[in-house]
């Protein structure tokens, strides 16, 4: 029973990820694409939960749904050359073919990676910890302290970079 429920939830989550992703690609209105992407992000977050990476899942919600989506919407609203919002996400054979090739290539890499990965279920003796936040905090503050501090330098670069670019485009 538990297993069946699990499978049902997984299928629902997978559909929540993939169906809006199709809408992102095929919607003519780029605003609809952006909103559909919200749901794809939410589904991805659910998949992270399934993998037992709950910190990553919460980060997905906080950063992608709360931040990146808003940035995307602002980018659309800031764009100058939109006359008719209903025809903004244009698709043609000339774009579909290279897109398709790229999809196949990336899929091949993913399938190879999935096949090579040693998957461990949480609760196994192989041991993915049931809760990842605590070990993660431990690693960040001890073993990977340098990386942790470099992250803040990276964020600083992002902040200054975005300001410089935005300022230049105003003038």
């Amino acid at each position: 029973m538990t297993l069946e429920l699990r499978e049902m939830v997984f299928i629902a989550t997978a559909l929540l990820t993939t169906l809006p992703a199709l809408l992102v690609v095929f919607s003519r209105n780029i605003l609809y694409s952006a909103f559909a992407l919200f749901f794809t992000f939410l589904g991805t977050s659910g998949l992270y939960f399934f993998l037992g990476a709950e910190f990553l899942a919460i980060t997905q919600v906080v950063v992608y749904i709360g931040g990146v989506s808003v940035i995307l919407l602002f980018a659309i609203l800031l764009t100058r050359d939109i006359d008719e919002i209903k025809k903004t996400n244009t698709m043609s054979l000339g774009r579909a073919v290279p897109g398709g090739v790229a999809v196949l290539a990336i899929s091949a890499v993913f399938i190879y990676a999935i096949g090579e990965t040693k998957w461990a279920a949480s609760g196994d003796e192989t041991g993915v910890p049931a809760l990842t936040v605590k070990p993660l905090g431990d690693l960040l503050l001890n073993k990977y302290l340098f990386a942790f501090e470099v992250v803040s330098v990276l964020l600083l670069a992002v902040l200054i970079g975005s300001l410089v670019i935005a300022r230049r485009s105003v003038k």
Binding site: T2, R6, V9, F10, F49, F50, G52, E54, F55, I58, T59, V62, V63, G66, G67, V68, V70, I71, F74, A75, L77, L78, T79, R80, I82, I85, S122, G123, A130, V133, K134, L136, G137, D138, L140, L141, N142, L145, F148, E149, V151, S152, V153, L155, L156, V158, L159, I160, S162, L163, A166, R167, S169, V170
Partner: protein, 118 residues
């Protein structure tokens, strides 16, 4: 998947059902009498003028970028806060350093009038 996340799923389902359910109840019970004046976009009772879609000020984008940077910073505080009591002062200094580096960016943004509307 650990079953302890099931409450989150149930919570999301109930929230979605509540939203959709309210709209459905509205559709069932509200009177349906549309006429031309009712269907024009609402603009405080005036007749709408000009294009609906207007270009936003670039400033919104800068604010959004700033938000995103500090959003990511906040995310890094979760694992830090969880182990804080175990590591103690050392963790405190590490986080202060993390925040200080970002404060440089904050001051830069302030000096460049990123928070000012002109």
């Amino acid at each position: 998947m650990p079953t302890e996340y099931l409450p989150i799923v149930i919570f999301m389902l109930v929230a979605t059902a509540f939203g959709l359910g309210s709209l459905m109840v509205g559709i069932i019970f509200r009177p349906h009498r549309p006429y031309a004046e009712k269907l024009i976009p609402y603009e405080s009772g005036n007749i709408p003028v000009g294009e609906t879609r207007s270009r936003f000020h670039i400033h919104f984008y800068i604010i959004a970028m700033l938000f995103l940077v500090f959003d990511v910073e906040a995310v890094f505080m979760y694992p830090w806060a969880v182990v804080f009591d175990k590591i103690g002062l050392y963790a405190y200094i590490e986080m202060i350093l993390f925040i200080l580096i970002l404060t440089v960016g904050y001051i830069y943004a302030w000096k460049k009038d990123a928070f000012k509307w002109d």
